[in-house]
């Protein structure tokens, strides 16, 4: 353990303890946010392949030469993971900063007993196992509330546990496809959907999880009420596509895709346009005739721009394919950031389609706001971690949380948790370790 919890000033969730049985992505996102605001989040894993968070096996890996006293400063290359170590995965490091890590065998009765002891004094327990796993262990909400009636129990599944699909398996992409989010993304039919280039529904439910946990924690602090939260990734997807669901009830028409265009406002042109270089694009969003005139001025007032077809927003929308071709003929000769700056100077919403290097190496706004946070990891050293997107004046977000670290090594905090929190002696711990419990 690196940080001293008392030394960092006051945090919104001081004194809150979360037992974190989550893994993969959707669960750990929620507990990450609680650690960011000061909760003591104790991640539970076990030293068997199936009980170790799969994300620990997922690339990118820190370069093979990265050490505890170095990190990114030692240079970046493709790492391979190192046999025998579960602590070198970069995405895991980014997803789990600020958390404590312990190993605890829940398939062992003594492991489950230790978990119950942890739950006794905890504010919340979070899990995203396949539906029913916790009940099989006798660790479901109904059992745990007998030990701690104030406990907040949050489980996250693709479909949601209550209902007729209670034992269905699902991952982020499954929930996205089922909920309608995948359908909504992409060029109009008959093109297939483009969907999402990642598991969006492993992230938004994490934010919702943090919102609900913090509402529940506040109430628990006030009146001691406990809470069972059965979160559904699909329902989160509905929340994020609500306008189309309501519109359909009024028009009766099936929802359609519309690419990067804007069918809900008189905005045109509206899309991504090619610039100089390989796969370089700029997004333009023209909201008014005034902005249209500013754009045509920047293009050098070409003759075609005063054509009747492009005179009004309504007319531009009718001729959007031709319009896009004309705009592209202009942008394709432009350097993307230079064009963005020129258009922004004229008051036009324009933005480069930024790729990871653009966002990490170039974006002056993210730099100025201190978005990326360097945090040390006990095996691979100091690496930049994605930050929290808001500044709070009195209880600032701190992705390093109470540990002041990036993600924990597997079982890194066994001593702290079992000795300091549960009060086990060194001898007891050694015996439990020999028995395959911790």
């Amino acid at each position: 353990m690196m940080g001293d919890e008392a030394s960092k000033g006051r945090r919104a969730l001081d004194g809150v303890r979360i037992i974190d049985l989550t893994w993969l992505q959707v669960g750990p996102q929620a507990t990450r946010l609680l650690a960011t605001f000061g909760a003591q989040v104790i991640r539970v894993e076990w030293r068997e392949r199936k009980a170790i968070d799969f994300i620990r096996y997922v690339p990118p890996f820190a370069p093979d030469h990265a050490t505890a006293d170095g990190g990114r400063s030692q240079g970046v290359t493709r790492g391979h993971g190192i046999r025998g170590s579960y602590n070198r995965a970069g995405y895991f490091n980014n997803t789990n900063p600020g958390k404590y890590g312990i190993t605890l065998n829940l398939n062992h009765p003594k492991g489950r007993e230790l978990l119950r002891r942890l739950v006794r004094d905890a504010n919340a327990i979070c899990e995203n196992f396949s539906p029913g796993q916790m009940d099989k262990w006798g660790l479901g909400y109904d059992e745990l509330r007998k030990i701690n009636p104030r406990i907040i129990y949050m489980q996250t599944t693709g479909m949601g546990k209550a209902g007729v699909y209670e034992d269905y398996v699902s991952y982020g992409p499954t929930a996205q496809a089922f909920s309608g989010l995948t359908f909504l993304s992409g060029l109009p039919q008959p093109r297939p959907p483009a969907g999402w280039g990642y598991s969006y529904l492993d992230h938004s439910p994490g934010y919702f999880g943090a919102i609900m946990l913090m509402a529940a924690i506040r109430r628990q602090r006030i009146d001691g009420t406990g809470c069972y939260i059965d979160m559904s990734q699909c329902e989160t997807g509905f929340m994020l596509s609500g306008t189309s669901i309501v519109e359909h009830q009024i028009t009766g028409k099936p929802t359609a895709r519309y690419g990067n265009r804007m069918p809900f406002l008189d905005w045109s042109p509206h899309g991504a346009y090619r610039c100089i270089g390989s796969d370089n694009w700029i997004a333009l969003s023209i909201q008014s005739d005034e902005q249209w005139r500013a754009l045509t001025a920047e293009m050098g007032s070409p003759d075609w721009a005063v054509d009747d077809r492009f005179a009004s927003a309504a007319s531009r929308k009718q001729h959007e394919d031709e319009l896009d071709a004309k705009i592209t003929a202009f942008t394709i000769g432009c350097e993307r950031y230079d064009l963005m700056n020129r258009l922004q100077a004229r008051g036009i919403p324009a933005g480069v389609v930024q790729k990871a290097p653009d966002r990490f190496d170039l974006d002056p706004q993210l730099k100025a706001r201190g978005y990326y946070v360097d945090l040390p990891h006990s095996e691979i050293g100091t690496w930049p971690i994605e930050g929290f997107p808001a500044k709070l004046s009195r209880s600032p977000a701190d992705v390093g949380g109470p540990t002041g670290r990036a993600a924990p090594k597997l079982g890194e905090d066994n001593e702290f948790v079992f000795e300091k929190i549960l009060g086990l002696s060194a001898g007891e711990m050694a015996a439990l370790s020999d028995e395959g419990v911790i």
Partner: protein, 411 residues
Amino acid sequence: MNTDGNLGNSLAGLTIVEIGDQLGDYAAMLLAGLGAEVIKLEPRDGSASRRIGPFASTAPDPEQSIFFWRYNLNKKSVVLDVDDQDARPVLAALAARADIVLLVGEFETVARRLPLWRELAEKNPRLIVCTITPFGLDGPHRALKATDLVQMALGGIMAVCGYDPGKDGEYDTPPIAPAMWHSYHLGGEYAAVAMMAAINFRELSGEGQFIDVSVHEAVNTCTEVAIPTYIYSGVVVKRQTARHAAPNITHMRLSKSADGVFMLASLSPFERELRALAQLADQVGIAHVLGTEEFVQLEKDDHVAAAIYRNDLLEQVVESLPADELFKRAQAHGLAWSPIRRPEENLDDPHFAARQSFATIDHPELGRDLRYPGTVASDGHAPHFSYTRRAPRIGEHTDEVLSRLRVPTKT
């Protein structure tokens, strides 16, 4: 005490005053769904988000915006020109009683309004003032112009969403911003997280504070492996059709079912999933060599050919059944395959009916109910979020709220 601990009323007693545009509607609605009272201050002709379609009427009408309806459930509307000197007494009275003030919009607008709220917050030190702006209140890009599309571009989501490149590795289609205002969703969710943190902090300390949410940063948090892959290995992930952006182009996962619906179907490299595929193929009567010596040999001799064989078989299975049947059968074998549904198809799904995922909201002016996505979680019996009232009409609650404040006003 409610033993199930339903959260639908957990923020009862908290008052949120919302001022601004579409960047804030959703954030305030999320907390309204947990029981907070949200008072939206609007200009006489309605807030900007009332101009966003689609509209229930044939022509745009600020009272008929489905966008506005969707993101303003449970709220109250008060007509007040917040930039007018005459509004000061009302704003002061609101600041004295409110728990949170949400100031939302373009940088110039929010920056212009903020000093007044700094002043008012000195008189009510418990007040939380949360701003949501496209890029945050400081930094060189704070005043850039943005729309949802531009935020999705600069924030990095577009670059990882879209279609496969051609065989030469070059893209002939643009990056795609997934539709439905996700930069506002992300900004709104994070604003709600930050406001809940501030509310919790106030329970401990008695102190309010200022929160500065940047939509740009909110979008940036949500691209999964894109940034870590670059930070740790210097590699830039490539966007690809309906699957994860990755350093390499992976195998296509979309195929069409017998009834012409795109299915998201793939196999993880687990023996269990291969057995499940074999069983599904047996059920629909497709001959195959999975599980035989022949296939084991093929895997040894030519790993790529074996993968192609598996995926061809998967496609044949998908083509043989209608989407919903395929979904259920795959699930029975533990395969997380899914039809690519339109959002509205879930309105009639029995699972979500059982969970009451959609809130039925009365629209007296339409003479009908509409069903809105109304929760992300259940307490085992009922939804944790509680939405019961349609979005307000412009100024619908002006008298109610102002009379409660007992401030003489010309409004």
